[in-house]
């Protein structure tokens, strides 16, 4: 019975953990909840679109689908690094949205929500700050990026 209770406790704890994808843009480490990420693939050439929406000025075509591109690097005043660059597809509230990220392969991390602190910098829509590998990392709110 004691073992069962301990198992339940562990299961509950595991349930409470947030799974995040850790990636980087222009060398800046960022994280996003896995449920907000549709996938990561290689970056492809984008099609510029005349637009006055800040950081939304292109589309990415993949097979028979096109999706808007959010220029997160420009938003952070950075330049994406490495070759080949990667494409993170965000599950945005308005539909899938492509983001160009550094070539460094993203990793998965489990984060205790209790360790998430408010992000007071306000330079990006975020769910808070978390320390990963002695580094403060903003968890980007991909669903409402640019809203």
């Amino acid at each position: 019975m004691l073992r069962a209770a301990r198992g339940q406790h562990q299961a509950l704890r595991a349930k409470r953990l947030w799974n995040v994808v850790v990636f980087s843009v222009g060398g800046v480490k960022l994280a996003a909840r896995t449920e907000d990420v549709e996938g990561v693939s290689s970056w492809a050439e984008t099609i510029p679109v005349p637009s006055r929406t800040p950081f939304v000025q292109a589309m990415l075509k993949r097979d028979n689908h096109v999706m808007p591109v959010y220029d997160l690097a420009a938003r952070l005043n950075r330049v994406v690094q490495g070759e080949p660059l990667l494409c993170l597809v965000a599950r945005h509230l308005d539909g899938p949205m492509a983001i160009c990220i550094d070539a460094a392969m993203p990793s998965l991390q489990a984060v205790n929500p209790a360790s998430i602190r408010p992000n007071s910098s306000g330079d990006i829509e975020s769910l808070g700050l978390v320390t990963i590998g002695a580094q403060d990392v903003a968890i980007v709110a991909l669903q409402r990026l640019g809203r």
Binding site: P50, R52, T53, V66, G95, M97
Partner: protein, 172 residues
Amino acid sequence: MSLRGRHNSAGTLVEAASFLVVRLGVNYFALPATGVRGVLTQEETGHEEAVTAAGTVYQPVDLAQRLSVVAKLCGPERRTVLYSTGHSQGAIGVEQVVGLIDIERKDCLPLPSQFQKDERDWFGGMLLHQDQLVLILNLSWVLGELSGGASVPVRLAEQLVEATSASVGGAC
């Protein structure tokens, strides 16, 4: 835009929309074909500011400048499209006329909602043609029928698209 019934291979009636596809810089744009009154070469337009055809005066429209697109309007493929919405007319300079296309209305897609500003006035939607992304121009805006500062809010635009789609199908 031209809408007409067309039978597909299965004999089912499908609604088609007809567009003139043009290129400006790296972008492809679609103009609803019903408003096209003529396509002129550089020699035919001459160096006049406005073009007069069949008694109608078409004032020049600098679409590249209005869209902030870099275009070279001096190449041999440069054409001037004479266009009328019924209310307004204009002579639109383009780098190249790609051609007329008929597409099924279901293949017209709305501009993604992430595009939130003036571009919602500029484009009625988009489509894929021969592997190219083609933006469907809103000719009322192109010809100056819409005031510059009156962008349709995204949510309202979505409601309009939903309402329109529900009644007639598609985004164009």
